[in-house]
Symmetry: none
Subunit: 219 residues, 4 copies
């Protein structure tokens, strides 16, 4: 998605006169790239302006400032994953299948969206000071919990899933197993002296995660 945007918007050519939508998108896109891997403090407003081919002043016009821009990026990022998650229609499947699919999707999404991991890391370093200001963010997560809760109940009722599992706890576990591996892969590779990045390692981790979660679901 990011690559697509990068391709469609030349970083050198100005966005052209008077195209607010495009200007806004270009800024957001460049900002996502810059905040990812540089953090909030490390990111440079100048770099974002240059990369987006937009005048620096526009960032203040559209987003109020660096922090406003950062929050917009954060919201956009969360919105994107929940959107993709919703497209899975997990509610329509069998309980075990639904959870297995969520596990696989989460792992895949984390691999394909390093900016999601990075931005969350940054935001937690700041103790969610910015995310907390978001009005939309809570609502974005109701469906996920509701669906998971529904499937756990159904699975427990027919004896396929251990009863009493907290859906939030379970989701955190599903996310944990992939998130930590990927976001900490650099230090992990260093301390264990072993690549974490190559396709084989990623596959092995994916299978391991699935095994861990499904073992836990068993009654």
């Amino acid at each position: 998605m990011e690559a697509t945007l990068s391709k469609s918007i030349s970083p050198k050519r100005p966005t052209g006169p008077r195209d607010p939508v495009r200007t806004r998108a270009a800024i957001l896109d460049a900002a996502t790239e810059e905040f990812n891997g540089k953090g909030l403090n490390g990111a440079r407003v100048d770099t974002i302006a240059k990369r987006s081919g937009v005048n620096k002043r526009m960032i203040y016009h559209y987003f109020g400032g660096k922090e406003g821009l950062y929050l917009a990026v954060l919201e956009e990022t969360y919105s994107a994953i929940r959107q993709a998650e919703g497209d899975l229609h997990l509610g329509d499947r069998d309980p075990i299948e639904a959870i297995r699919e969520l596990v696989r999707f989460t792992w895949r999404y984390f691999i394909q969206h390093p900016e999601f991991l990075s931005l969350l890391g940054t935001e937690n370093l700041h103790r969610a000071r910015y995310l907390r200001q978001s009005a939309r963010i809570r609502d974005l997560h109701f469906p996920l919990v509701a669906t998971l809760s529904h499937q756990l109940d159904r699975g427990a009722a027919i004896g396929l899933i251990r009863p009493g599992i907290d859906p939030v706890q379970l989701y955190i576990t599903i996310a944990s197993l992939g998130f930590f591996y990927l976001s900490n892969r650099y230090t992990l590779a260093t301390i264990f002296g072993r690549s974490m990045d190559d396709p084989d390692s990623l596959d092995a981790r994916g299978r391991h995660i699935e095994a861990v979660v499904l073992s836990y679901l068993k009654p």
Copy 2:
């Protein structure tokens, strides 16, 4: 440990005349506190100097600069957890007991040492650029892997543990389940609208983690 040092060294009083060991320790201590929660870019050398009660120049004298100091903090932090881990003497216990103890210890340690989580987050944002320069770091982790491997083998031999478990994979999982919850508790609390910090929640998470890991070990 940090708390202890913080208490014994007044931030206002100078470290006293000519006490290199104490000066070095005071700097390291203040730096750990500053890098934790501010990150590498956000941390201020001036603040570290002021908090440690030593002249700013001494930081350059002892650590070469901000980055050298940061690396020293990182090494110290890793060293501390591996040290505490070693004190558990996991090799002397029964396999399941040893792993259960490692799970509990890890969770406890993460709770009590937020600076460990924070520093690792920061270092991974920088893709382990600094940690990679450390010569000692690999050696620090041999014992952990060796012990875990040994216990997994023993457990598998007597039919108590599922065979074929990769010890590194397992350790990453054990760490994941606590690390992600704690380091991301701020965004998690925000998106799920539920406290993650109170004792009850921490206890519940601890029990959940233990259940997940032990389910997975079962043959």
Copy 3:
């Protein structure tokens, strides 16, 4: 020229709103004064900013940094002397006359432009590390060598000038005789206990230089 600029731009009054050309010139002017007599290391960016009446940040905006500014000053300085030299139209005169004029001009120019001497001294202390990065500098000196070469050939052909004189060697000699006297006048005055600065001494040196060069030209 420098004096003129210094007069026209008050060091206290800001350069006025939004006048890039003037801002750039003001910085360059103040920098020439500061590098002259302080050297590269001794010069202070703060002083340059203050003297030029512009914000310190602008120096980085226009010149990239202290060293970039220094190189710009260097190029400007070289450009100025070659420009003035070109205005003599030495190619249009008789050979001996042309060289005599070059000798006189060079001496006069060195007296009137102490910053030229000083900057070259500084740059040679640094082994031309900065000048070497200049793309324009070579081209600036082609005409001088060409003209001198032409006149030496003509003079030799009609028997007025000793044949076989290397134009570069001759130019270096012409410059030497004035440059060394002026740039080293402070130590020379000290070791010989005799003023080198007063008009009479300067006149005497000028006549001496002319005599030396013309003696050498004779066949």
Copy 4:
């Protein structure tokens, strides 16, 4: 001379306890090297201490400070060239021969002692502020002027040398022709795009200088 000292005093090994003469010499030697090519501002007291294998405090003990050390280096440097010059016994030769020998010696000495050129450049950048404080410096130069004056008079009396030549003026010219070429060789090489450093170029310049001076002497 410098090389000799550098060889006899290991930069790593401390000068040993209680050897004032050796300590002083080691500092002076390292300082000459550091001031040469770095200038007064660019030179670092720490570097001098490290290179001389002597504690930094000793520099303050023996020379009072950086500037005192610099002056000592300056005096030492002047003293060395005048000493070597005196060893030529120019007063005992024929006039033309004596001057030719002085020209050759000066050129050779400048080539072999780049620190002499560099230090004089530095000192003149500071308008001889430090050298002027030296009590010895004047006396060091009497013999040179006296000898030169004597030989010029003798040569004029027997019709071999143009009468009325000012010995100081002549000496400055002799020094100029070599000094400028060597001290400015870096910028000269850059602007003329031609090496000034190789043996052939140095030889050519030496012959040129001799020709210029001798042409001028002719009645």
